[in-house]
Protein backbone atom coordinates (compact mmCIF):
# COMPACT_ATOMS: atom_id res chain seq x y z
CA UNK A 1 0.00 0.00 0.00
CA UNK A 2 1.11 3.55 -0.75
CA UNK A 3 1.62 5.76 2.28
CA UNK A 4 -0.86 8.66 2.45
CA UNK A 5 1.74 11.00 3.89
CA UNK A 6 5.44 10.70 3.42
CA UNK A 7 8.20 12.97 4.69
CA UNK A 8 11.62 12.52 3.10
CA UNK A 9 14.53 14.30 4.76
CA UNK A 10 12.13 17.08 5.59
CA UNK A 11 13.71 20.15 7.21
CA UNK A 12 12.22 23.51 7.98
CA UNK A 13 14.22 26.59 8.89
CA UNK A 14 12.89 30.09 9.33
CA UNK A 15 14.24 33.52 10.19
CA UNK A 16 13.00 34.85 13.51
CA UNK A 17 12.45 38.41 14.69
CA UNK A 18 16.12 38.96 15.52
CA UNK A 19 17.22 37.86 12.02
CA UNK A 20 18.47 34.59 13.43
CA UNK A 21 18.05 31.42 11.46
CA UNK A 22 16.07 28.89 13.46
CA UNK A 23 15.73 25.22 12.69
CA UNK A 24 12.25 24.01 13.56
CA UNK A 25 12.55 20.61 11.92
CA UNK A 26 15.60 18.71 10.78
CA UNK A 27 15.76 15.64 8.58
CA UNK A 28 12.39 14.10 9.34
CA UNK A 29 11.66 10.75 7.69
CA UNK A 30 8.19 9.42 8.19
CA UNK A 31 5.59 7.30 6.40
CA UNK A 32 1.97 7.29 7.42
CA UNK A 33 -0.27 4.57 6.01
CA UNK A 34 -3.99 5.04 5.18
CA UNK A 35 -6.22 4.27 8.17
CA UNK A 36 -3.48 4.69 10.76
CA UNK A 37 -4.04 6.56 14.01
CA UNK A 38 -0.86 8.37 14.92
CA UNK A 39 -0.22 10.44 18.02
CA UNK A 40 2.55 13.03 18.01
CA UNK A 41 3.84 14.00 21.45
CA UNK A 42 6.56 16.39 22.54
CA UNK A 43 7.14 19.45 24.69
CA UNK A 44 6.36 23.00 23.58
CA UNK A 45 8.69 24.01 20.77
CA UNK A 46 9.60 20.45 19.88
CA UNK A 47 8.30 21.03 16.35
CA UNK A 48 5.18 18.88 16.42
CA UNK A 49 2.79 21.61 15.22
CA UNK A 50 5.29 22.74 12.60
CA UNK A 51 5.51 19.19 11.31
CA UNK A 52 1.73 18.85 11.21
CA UNK A 53 1.39 22.06 9.19
CA UNK A 54 3.54 20.52 6.48
CA UNK A 55 0.96 17.78 6.00
CA UNK A 56 -1.58 20.11 4.41
CA UNK A 57 0.79 22.60 2.84
CA UNK A 58 0.22 25.42 5.31
CA UNK A 59 4.02 25.22 5.49
CA UNK A 60 6.36 23.79 2.88
CA UNK A 61 9.72 22.17 3.56
CA UNK A 62 12.80 24.33 3.13
CA UNK A 63 14.74 21.13 2.46
CA UNK A 64 13.59 17.64 1.55
CA UNK A 65 10.10 16.68 0.48
CA UNK A 66 6.64 16.14 1.87
CA UNK A 67 4.32 13.96 -0.22
CA UNK A 68 0.59 13.75 0.39
CA UNK A 69 -1.15 10.99 -1.56
CA UNK A 70 1.89 11.01 -3.81
CA UNK A 71 1.65 14.77 -4.49
CA UNK A 72 4.55 17.07 -3.63
CA UNK A 73 3.26 19.81 -1.28
CA UNK A 74 5.86 22.28 -2.56
CA UNK A 75 4.26 22.35 -6.01
CA UNK A 76 1.78 25.23 -6.25
CA UNK A 77 -0.69 23.27 -8.41
CA UNK A 78 -1.02 20.57 -5.74
CA UNK A 79 -2.09 23.01 -3.02
CA UNK A 80 -5.88 22.51 -3.21
CA UNK A 81 -5.87 18.73 -3.82
CA UNK A 82 -3.49 18.39 -0.83
CA UNK A 83 -5.72 20.47 1.43
CA UNK A 84 -8.74 18.45 0.38
CA UNK A 85 -6.91 15.24 1.23
CA UNK A 86 -5.66 16.40 4.62
CA UNK A 87 -7.97 18.46 6.83
CA UNK A 88 -6.90 20.23 9.99
CA UNK A 89 -8.56 20.91 13.32
CA UNK A 90 -6.89 23.51 15.55
CA UNK A 91 -6.64 24.07 19.27
CA UNK A 92 -8.94 27.03 19.81
CA UNK A 93 -12.47 26.18 18.65
CA UNK A 94 -13.43 29.87 18.62
CA UNK A 95 -10.78 30.89 16.12
CA UNK A 96 -11.62 28.40 13.40
CA UNK A 97 -15.36 28.95 13.03
CA UNK A 98 -16.02 31.47 10.28
CA UNK A 99 -19.78 31.85 9.93
CA UNK A 100 -22.41 33.02 12.41
CA UNK A 101 -24.63 29.96 11.89
CA UNK A 102 -23.45 26.39 12.51
CA UNK A 103 -24.56 24.87 9.19
CA UNK A 104 -23.14 27.81 7.22
CA UNK A 105 -19.80 27.21 8.86
CA UNK A 106 -19.83 23.51 8.04
CA UNK A 107 -20.62 24.47 4.43
CA UNK A 108 -17.71 26.95 4.28
CA UNK A 109 -15.11 24.50 2.97
CA UNK A 110 -17.48 23.04 0.39
CA UNK A 111 -18.35 26.51 -0.88
CA UNK A 112 -14.63 27.25 -1.19
CA UNK A 113 -13.92 24.28 -3.44
CA UNK A 114 -16.91 25.14 -5.61
CA UNK A 115 -19.28 22.26 -4.87
CA UNK A 116 -22.62 23.08 -6.56
CA UNK A 117 -25.23 24.52 -4.15
CA UNK A 118 -27.72 21.61 -4.09
CA UNK A 119 -24.96 19.07 -3.32
CA UNK A 120 -23.73 21.03 -0.31
CA UNK A 121 -26.69 20.49 2.01
CA UNK A 122 -26.63 16.66 2.15
CA UNK A 123 -22.90 16.71 2.82
CA UNK A 124 -23.33 19.29 5.59
CA UNK A 125 -26.09 17.23 7.15
CA UNK A 126 -24.03 14.03 6.96
CA UNK A 127 -21.05 15.75 8.60
CA UNK A 128 -23.18 17.16 11.43
CA UNK A 129 -24.74 13.74 11.91
CA UNK A 130 -21.33 12.07 12.25
CA UNK A 131 -20.25 14.44 15.04
CA UNK A 132 -23.71 14.27 16.66
CA UNK A 133 -24.55 17.97 16.26
CA UNK A 134 -27.55 17.75 13.93
CA UNK A 135 -29.81 19.39 16.51
CA UNK A 136 -27.63 22.51 16.51
CA UNK A 137 -27.58 23.15 12.75
CA UNK A 138 -29.30 26.54 13.02
CA UNK A 139 -27.60 27.71 16.24
CA UNK A 140 -25.13 30.55 16.64
CA UNK A 141 -21.66 29.11 17.42
CA UNK A 142 -20.93 31.51 20.28
CA UNK A 143 -23.80 30.03 22.29
CA UNK A 144 -22.28 26.52 22.21
CA UNK A 145 -19.85 24.96 24.69
CA UNK A 146 -16.17 24.50 23.83
CA UNK A 147 -16.60 20.80 23.10
CA UNK A 148 -19.60 21.46 20.88
CA UNK A 149 -17.72 24.18 18.99
CA UNK A 150 -14.82 21.82 18.47
CA UNK A 151 -17.21 19.19 17.07
CA UNK A 152 -18.56 21.82 14.66
CA UNK A 153 -15.00 22.52 13.57
CA UNK A 154 -14.52 18.78 12.98
CA UNK A 155 -17.76 18.66 10.97
CA UNK A 156 -16.48 21.55 8.84
CA UNK A 157 -13.37 19.55 7.98
CA UNK A 158 -15.32 16.31 7.60
CA UNK A 159 -17.70 17.81 5.04
CA UNK A 160 -14.74 18.06 2.65
CA UNK A 161 -14.41 14.25 2.92
CA UNK A 162 -10.68 14.23 3.60
CA UNK A 163 -8.71 11.00 3.73
CA UNK A 164 -6.72 12.24 6.69
CA UNK A 165 -7.36 14.73 9.50
CA UNK A 166 -4.66 16.41 11.57
CA UNK A 167 -5.74 17.39 15.08
CA UNK A 168 -3.52 20.02 16.67
CA UNK A 169 -4.17 19.69 20.42
CA UNK A 170 -7.95 19.71 19.94
CA UNK A 171 -8.72 19.13 23.62
CA UNK A 172 -6.25 21.57 25.19
CA UNK A 173 -8.90 24.23 25.86
CA UNK A 174 -11.81 21.94 26.76
CA UNK A 175 -13.39 20.73 29.97
CA UNK A 176 -13.33 16.97 30.78
CA UNK A 177 -16.76 16.39 29.22
CA UNK A 178 -15.81 18.16 25.99
CA UNK A 179 -12.50 16.31 25.94
CA UNK A 180 -14.23 12.95 26.20
CA UNK A 181 -16.64 13.84 23.38
CA UNK A 182 -13.81 14.86 21.07
CA UNK A 183 -11.73 11.75 21.79
CA UNK A 184 -14.77 9.56 21.11
CA UNK A 185 -15.46 11.42 17.86
CA UNK A 186 -11.86 11.01 16.74
CA UNK A 187 -11.91 7.28 17.47
CA UNK A 188 -15.20 6.95 15.61
CA UNK A 189 -13.78 8.69 12.53
CA UNK A 190 -10.78 6.38 12.59
CA UNK A 191 -12.61 3.10 13.19
CA UNK A 192 -15.86 3.66 11.27
CA UNK A 193 -14.84 6.00 8.47
CA UNK A 194 -11.27 4.67 8.13
CA UNK A 195 -9.94 8.22 8.19
CA UNK A 196 -6.24 8.50 8.88
CA UNK A 197 -5.73 10.45 12.11
CA UNK A 198 -2.70 12.46 13.14
CA UNK A 199 -3.29 13.57 16.68
CA UNK A 200 -0.99 16.05 18.39
CA UNK A 201 -1.41 16.07 22.14
CA UNK A 202 0.07 16.80 25.53
CA UNK A 203 -2.20 14.30 27.22
CA UNK A 204 -0.73 10.83 27.43
CA UNK A 205 -4.08 9.19 28.25
CA UNK A 206 -5.15 10.31 24.77
CA UNK A 207 -1.88 9.34 23.09
CA UNK A 208 -2.12 5.70 24.25
CA UNK A 209 -5.25 5.28 22.11
CA UNK A 210 -3.14 5.60 18.94
CA UNK A 211 -1.71 2.78 16.83
CA UNK A 212 1.66 4.49 16.75
CA UNK A 213 3.30 7.23 18.78
CA UNK A 214 5.89 9.66 17.52
CA UNK A 215 7.79 11.54 20.21
CA UNK A 216 9.47 14.71 19.02
CA UNK A 217 12.30 16.61 20.59
CA UNK A 218 14.05 19.74 19.30
CA UNK A 219 12.86 19.30 15.74
CA UNK A 220 13.55 15.65 15.19
CA UNK A 221 11.83 12.34 15.87
CA UNK A 222 13.23 11.02 19.13
CA UNK A 223 11.12 7.88 19.58
CA UNK A 224 8.66 6.02 17.44
CA UNK A 225 6.59 2.91 18.10
CA UNK A 226 3.42 1.47 19.56
CA UNK A 227 2.20 3.03 22.81
CA UNK A 228 3.58 0.03 24.70
CA UNK A 229 7.00 0.31 23.09
CA UNK A 230 7.21 4.03 23.84
CA UNK A 231 5.71 4.31 27.30
CA UNK A 232 7.53 1.36 28.81
CA UNK A 233 10.74 3.37 28.38
CA UNK A 234 9.77 5.61 31.26
CA UNK A 235 13.20 7.13 31.79
CA UNK A 236 13.63 8.17 28.16
CA UNK A 237 10.19 9.76 28.09
CA UNK A 238 11.00 11.70 31.26
CA UNK A 239 14.22 12.93 29.71
CA UNK A 240 12.13 14.49 26.93
CA UNK A 241 10.26 16.46 29.56
CA UNK A 242 7.11 14.35 29.15
CA UNK A 243 5.19 12.21 31.58
CA UNK A 244 4.11 8.63 31.09
CA UNK A 245 0.58 7.52 31.99
CA UNK A 246 0.36 6.92 35.73
CA UNK A 247 -0.09 3.14 35.40
CA UNK A 248 3.07 2.90 33.28
CA UNK A 249 5.01 4.88 35.89
CA UNK A 250 3.81 2.65 38.72
CA UNK A 251 4.63 -0.49 36.74
CA UNK A 252 8.07 0.88 35.98
CA UNK A 253 8.75 1.62 39.65
CA UNK A 254 7.61 -1.87 40.61
CA UNK A 255 9.85 -3.41 37.97
CA UNK A 256 12.79 -1.47 39.34
CA UNK A 257 11.93 -2.89 42.75
CA UNK A 258 12.37 -6.37 41.34
CA UNK A 259 8.81 -7.31 40.39
CA UNK A 260 8.30 -9.06 37.09
CA UNK A 261 5.51 -7.36 35.12
CA UNK A 262 4.44 -7.32 31.46
CA UNK A 263 4.42 -3.94 29.63
CA UNK A 264 1.59 -1.87 31.14
CA UNK A 265 -0.21 1.29 29.98
CA UNK A 266 -3.67 1.49 31.53
CA UNK A 267 -5.11 1.17 35.00
CA UNK A 268 -6.98 -1.96 33.94
CA UNK A 269 -3.81 -3.66 32.77
CA UNK A 270 -2.06 -2.74 36.00
CA UNK A 271 -4.89 -4.17 38.11
CA UNK A 272 -4.88 -7.32 36.00
CA UNK A 273 -1.12 -7.76 36.41
CA UNK A 274 -1.10 -7.13 40.15
CA UNK A 275 -4.22 -9.07 41.00
CA UNK A 276 -4.65 -11.74 38.29
CA UNK A 277 -7.49 -13.52 40.11
CA UNK A 278 -9.94 -10.81 39.10
Amino acid sequence: MEPIIEARHLSHTYVDGQNQEMTALKDINLSIMPGEFIAIIGTNGSGKSTLARHFNALLTPTEGKCLVGGLDTSVEANLWPVRQTVGMVFQNPDNQIVAAIVEEDVAFGLENIGVPGPEIRPRVEAALETVGMTAYAKHAPHRLSGGQKQRIAIAGVLALEPKCIVFDEPTAMLDPKGRKDIVETVLKLNKEKQITIIYITHKMEEAILADRIIAMNQGHIEMEGTPKEVFTQVDRIRKLGLECPLAAEVANALQKGGHKLPPILTHEELCQALCPSK
Binding site: R83, D94, E104, E111, G117
Partner: protein
Protein backbone atom coordinates in the same frame (compact mmCIF):
# COMPACT_ATOMS: atom_id res chain seq x y z
CA UNK B 1 -23.64 41.21 30.98
CA UNK B 2 -22.08 42.55 27.79
CA UNK B 3 -22.91 39.37 25.91
CA UNK B 4 -26.63 39.97 26.28
CA UNK B 5 -26.54 42.71 23.65
CA UNK B 6 -28.37 41.59 20.53
CA UNK B 7 -26.88 42.38 17.18
CA UNK B 8 -28.59 44.91 14.99
CA UNK B 9 -32.29 45.25 15.65
CA UNK B 10 -33.62 42.12 14.01
CA UNK B 11 -37.09 41.20 15.29
CA UNK B 12 -37.55 37.50 14.42
CA UNK B 13 -40.80 36.54 12.76
CA UNK B 14 -42.39 34.40 10.08
CA UNK B 15 -44.33 37.04 8.16
CA UNK B 16 -44.36 37.63 4.40
CA UNK B 17 -42.17 40.67 4.89
CA UNK B 18 -39.63 38.63 6.85
CA UNK B 19 -39.52 36.02 4.08
CA UNK B 20 -39.06 38.48 1.22
CA UNK B 21 -35.74 38.13 -0.58
CA UNK B 22 -33.20 40.49 1.02
CA UNK B 23 -32.43 41.93 -2.41
CA UNK B 24 -36.09 42.83 -2.87
CA UNK B 25 -36.05 44.59 0.46
CA UNK B 26 -32.83 46.50 -0.14
CA UNK B 27 -33.89 47.65 -3.60
CA UNK B 28 -37.40 48.34 -2.35
CA UNK B 29 -36.08 50.59 0.42
CA UNK B 30 -33.91 52.50 -2.05
CA UNK B 31 -36.87 52.88 -4.41
CA UNK B 32 -39.10 54.06 -1.57
CA UNK B 33 -36.46 56.66 -0.66
CA UNK B 34 -36.56 58.02 -4.21
CA UNK B 35 -40.34 58.19 -3.96
CA UNK B 36 -40.12 60.13 -0.69
CA UNK B 37 -38.32 62.88 -2.58
CA UNK B 38 -40.76 62.67 -5.45
CA UNK B 39 -43.81 63.32 -3.32
CA UNK B 40 -44.98 66.91 -3.19
CA UNK B 41 -48.63 66.89 -2.22
CA UNK B 42 -50.43 65.91 0.99
CA UNK B 43 -52.11 63.07 -0.90
CA UNK B 44 -48.81 61.55 -2.06
CA UNK B 45 -47.38 61.78 1.46
CA UNK B 46 -50.56 60.13 2.70
CA UNK B 47 -50.01 57.25 0.27
CA UNK B 48 -46.42 56.79 1.38
CA UNK B 49 -47.45 56.73 5.03
CA UNK B 50 -50.28 54.30 4.28
CA UNK B 51 -47.84 52.00 2.49
CA UNK B 52 -45.51 52.03 5.48
CA UNK B 53 -48.34 51.29 7.93
CA UNK B 54 -49.58 48.44 5.74
CA UNK B 55 -46.10 46.95 5.47
CA UNK B 56 -45.58 47.19 9.24
CA UNK B 57 -48.91 45.48 9.85
CA UNK B 58 -48.02 42.78 7.33
CA UNK B 59 -44.70 42.20 9.12
CA UNK B 60 -46.62 41.80 12.41
CA UNK B 61 -44.28 44.20 14.19
CA UNK B 62 -45.50 45.80 17.43
CA UNK B 63 -46.58 49.35 16.41
CA UNK B 64 -44.41 51.09 19.01
CA UNK B 65 -41.26 49.28 17.91
CA UNK B 66 -40.84 51.12 14.64
CA UNK B 67 -41.49 54.52 16.22
CA UNK B 68 -38.68 53.89 18.69
CA UNK B 69 -36.22 53.96 15.82
CA UNK B 70 -36.90 57.69 15.40
CA UNK B 71 -35.65 58.35 18.91
CA UNK B 72 -31.91 58.64 18.27
CA UNK B 73 -32.51 61.28 15.59
CA UNK B 74 -35.34 63.30 17.13
CA UNK B 75 -33.08 66.31 17.76
CA UNK B 76 -32.17 66.52 14.09
CA UNK B 77 -35.81 66.19 13.07
CA UNK B 78 -36.84 68.92 15.51
CA UNK B 79 -34.00 71.14 14.32
CA UNK B 80 -35.07 70.71 10.69
CA UNK B 81 -38.58 71.69 11.64
CA UNK B 82 -37.60 74.78 13.65
CA UNK B 83 -34.95 76.02 11.22
CA UNK B 84 -37.39 75.97 8.34
CA UNK B 85 -40.03 77.71 10.48
CA UNK B 86 -37.81 80.70 11.15
CA UNK B 87 -35.58 81.00 8.09
CA UNK B 88 -37.74 80.47 5.00
CA UNK B 89 -38.91 83.65 3.27
CA UNK B 90 -42.58 84.10 2.34
CA UNK B 91 -45.89 85.28 3.69
CA UNK B 92 -45.30 86.48 7.26
CA UNK B 93 -47.59 84.96 9.87
CA UNK B 94 -45.87 86.04 13.06
CA UNK B 95 -43.05 88.47 13.81
CA UNK B 96 -41.12 89.32 16.99
CA UNK B 97 -37.78 91.15 16.98
CA UNK B 98 -35.50 89.01 14.71
CA UNK B 99 -37.85 86.02 14.69
CA UNK B 100 -40.21 85.64 11.75
CA UNK B 101 -42.46 82.69 11.00
CA UNK B 102 -43.77 82.35 7.45
CA UNK B 103 -46.45 80.16 5.96
CA UNK B 104 -43.99 78.66 3.48
CA UNK B 105 -41.60 77.98 6.34
CA UNK B 106 -44.18 75.93 8.22
CA UNK B 107 -45.07 73.89 5.14
CA UNK B 108 -41.42 73.32 4.22
CA UNK B 109 -40.50 72.40 7.81
CA UNK B 110 -43.23 69.81 8.10
CA UNK B 111 -42.39 68.42 4.67
CA UNK B 112 -38.68 68.08 5.39
CA UNK B 113 -39.05 66.50 8.81
CA UNK B 114 -41.71 64.16 7.47
CA UNK B 115 -39.29 63.07 4.76
CA UNK B 116 -36.62 62.37 7.38
CA UNK B 117 -39.05 60.36 9.48
CA UNK B 118 -40.18 58.32 6.47
CA UNK B 119 -36.59 57.58 5.43
CA UNK B 120 -35.79 56.44 8.94
CA UNK B 121 -38.88 54.31 9.29
CA UNK B 122 -38.54 52.50 5.99
CA UNK B 123 -34.92 51.55 6.61
CA UNK B 124 -35.80 50.40 10.13
CA UNK B 125 -38.60 48.29 8.69
CA UNK B 126 -35.96 46.49 6.64
CA UNK B 127 -33.51 45.93 9.50
CA UNK B 128 -36.31 44.80 11.81
CA UNK B 129 -37.43 42.11 9.38
CA UNK B 130 -34.07 40.96 7.96
CA UNK B 131 -31.37 39.25 10.00
CA UNK B 132 -27.87 40.73 9.51
CA UNK B 133 -26.68 37.45 8.01
CA UNK B 134 -29.37 37.43 5.33
CA UNK B 135 -28.80 41.13 4.72
CA UNK B 136 -25.11 40.39 4.07
CA UNK B 137 -26.06 37.75 1.48
CA UNK B 138 -28.35 40.28 -0.19
CA UNK B 139 -25.68 42.98 -0.32
CA UNK B 140 -23.12 40.56 -1.75
CA UNK B 141 -25.52 39.38 -4.41
CA UNK B 142 -26.47 42.94 -5.39
CA UNK B 143 -22.87 44.13 -5.55
CA UNK B 144 -21.62 41.16 -7.58
CA UNK B 145 -22.29 42.76 -10.99
CA UNK B 146 -20.13 45.73 -9.95
CA UNK B 147 -17.11 43.48 -9.43
CA UNK B 148 -15.85 44.34 -12.89
CA UNK B 149 -15.51 47.99 -11.94
CA UNK B 150 -13.55 47.04 -8.85
CA UNK B 151 -16.15 46.68 -6.10
CA UNK B 152 -14.85 43.90 -3.81
CA UNK B 153 -18.30 42.34 -3.27
CA UNK B 154 -17.19 39.00 -1.90
CA UNK B 155 -14.52 40.49 0.35
CA UNK B 156 -16.98 42.99 1.85
CA UNK B 157 -19.51 40.24 2.53
CA UNK B 158 -16.85 37.99 4.06
CA UNK B 159 -15.73 40.84 6.33
CA UNK B 160 -19.29 41.42 7.47
CA UNK B 161 -19.84 37.71 8.09
CA UNK B 162 -16.69 37.43 10.18
CA UNK B 163 -17.57 40.61 12.06
CA UNK B 164 -21.02 39.23 12.87
CA UNK B 165 -19.47 35.97 13.98
CA UNK B 166 -16.83 37.58 16.22
CA UNK B 167 -18.65 40.50 17.81
CA UNK B 168 -20.21 38.28 20.53
CA UNK B 169 -16.88 36.53 21.06
CA UNK B 170 -15.04 39.83 21.45
CA UNK B 171 -17.72 41.19 23.79
CA UNK B 172 -17.26 38.12 25.95
CA UNK B 173 -13.54 38.71 25.92
CA UNK B 174 -13.95 42.40 26.83
CA UNK B 175 -16.04 41.33 29.77
CA UNK B 176 -13.35 38.92 30.88
CA UNK B 177 -10.56 41.48 30.52
CA UNK B 178 -12.58 44.08 32.45
CA UNK B 179 -13.06 41.65 35.30
CA UNK B 180 -9.39 40.70 35.24
CA UNK B 181 -8.35 44.37 35.39
CA UNK B 182 -10.92 45.16 38.08
CA UNK B 183 -9.53 42.33 40.20
CA UNK B 184 -6.16 44.07 39.87
CA UNK B 185 -7.68 47.28 41.16
CA UNK B 186 -8.62 49.06 37.91
CA UNK B 187 -11.43 51.60 38.27
CA UNK B 188 -13.77 52.14 35.32
CA UNK B 189 -16.57 54.05 36.93
CA UNK B 190 -15.16 57.20 38.51
CA UNK B 191 -13.38 60.38 37.41
CA UNK B 192 -14.18 62.80 34.60
CA UNK B 193 -14.53 61.89 30.93
CA UNK B 194 -10.81 62.21 30.14
CA UNK B 195 -9.94 60.12 33.17
CA UNK B 196 -12.44 57.44 32.22
CA UNK B 197 -11.22 57.29 28.65
CA UNK B 198 -7.69 56.83 29.95
CA UNK B 199 -8.90 54.07 32.21
CA UNK B 200 -10.15 52.15 29.19
CA UNK B 201 -6.62 51.71 27.88
CA UNK B 202 -5.91 48.61 30.00
CA UNK B 203 -8.94 47.00 28.34
CA UNK B 204 -8.26 48.09 24.79
CA UNK B 205 -4.64 47.01 24.56
CA UNK B 206 -5.17 43.36 25.59
CA UNK B 207 -8.29 43.27 23.43
CA UNK B 208 -6.36 44.49 20.37
CA UNK B 209 -3.55 42.02 20.92
CA UNK B 210 -5.90 39.10 21.27
CA UNK B 211 -7.91 40.20 18.22
CA UNK B 212 -4.78 40.14 16.09
CA UNK B 213 -3.94 36.70 17.42
CA UNK B 214 -7.45 35.51 16.64
CA UNK B 215 -7.28 36.97 13.14
CA UNK B 216 -4.02 35.16 12.53
CA UNK B 217 -5.40 31.82 13.67
CA UNK B 218 -8.65 32.30 11.78
CA UNK B 219 -6.77 33.07 8.56
CA UNK B 220 -4.80 29.86 9.00
CA UNK B 221 -7.95 27.84 9.65
CA UNK B 222 -9.66 29.37 6.61
CA UNK B 223 -6.70 28.53 4.41
CA UNK B 224 -6.66 24.98 5.74
CA UNK B 225 -10.28 24.72 4.57
CA UNK B 226 -9.33 25.69 1.03
CA UNK B 227 -10.36 29.35 1.20
CA UNK B 228 -8.88 31.32 -1.68
CA UNK B 229 -11.13 34.34 -2.09
CA UNK B 230 -14.39 34.62 -3.97
CA UNK B 231 -13.08 33.09 -7.21
CA UNK B 232 -14.99 29.90 -8.07
CA UNK B 233 -16.86 29.91 -4.78
CA UNK B 234 -20.39 28.50 -4.58
CA UNK B 235 -23.06 29.06 -1.93
CA UNK B 236 -25.21 26.62 0.01
CA UNK B 237 -28.18 29.00 -0.04
CA UNK B 238 -28.45 30.62 -3.44
CA UNK B 239 -30.90 33.51 -3.24
CA UNK B 240 -33.91 32.84 -5.48
CA UNK B 241 -36.70 35.35 -6.20
CA UNK B 242 -40.16 34.05 -5.25
CA UNK B 243 -43.67 35.05 -6.33
CA UNK B 244 -43.99 37.28 -3.25
CA UNK B 245 -40.97 39.29 -4.45
CA UNK B 246 -42.77 39.92 -7.72
CA UNK B 247 -45.87 41.02 -5.83
CA UNK B 248 -43.85 43.42 -3.66
CA UNK B 249 -42.16 44.88 -6.73
CA UNK B 250 -45.54 45.30 -8.45
CA UNK B 251 -47.00 47.19 -5.48
CA UNK B 252 -43.96 49.49 -5.35
CA UNK B 253 -44.06 50.25 -9.07
CA UNK B 254 -47.80 50.94 -8.81
CA UNK B 255 -47.16 53.34 -5.94
CA UNK B 256 -44.46 54.99 -8.02
CA UNK B 257 -46.80 55.42 -10.98
CA UNK B 258 -49.45 57.02 -8.78
CA UNK B 259 -46.90 59.43 -7.29
CA UNK B 260 -45.61 60.40 -10.74
CA UNK B 261 -49.18 61.03 -11.85
CA UNK B 262 -49.90 63.13 -8.74
CA UNK B 263 -46.83 65.24 -9.37
CA UNK B 264 -46.89 65.78 -13.13
CA UNK B 265 -50.06 64.26 -14.47
CA UNK B 266 -52.58 66.41 -12.64
CA UNK B 267 -53.63 69.71 -14.16
CA UNK B 268 -52.42 72.50 -11.88
Amino acid sequence: MLTEITLGQYYPGESVVHHLDPRTKILGVLFYMVMVFLANSPLSYGLLIAFLIAATALAKLPPGLLLKSIKPLWIIILLTLVLHFFTDPGEVLWHWKVFTITKEGIIMGIKMSLRLVLLLLVSSLMTFTTSPIVLTDGIESLLRPFKRVGVPAHELAMMMTIALRFIPTLLEETDRIMKAQMSRGADFSSGNIVQRAKNLLPILIPLFISSFRRADELALAMEARCYHGGEGRTRMHELVYQKRDGAAAFILVLLFAVLVFLRWGMPA
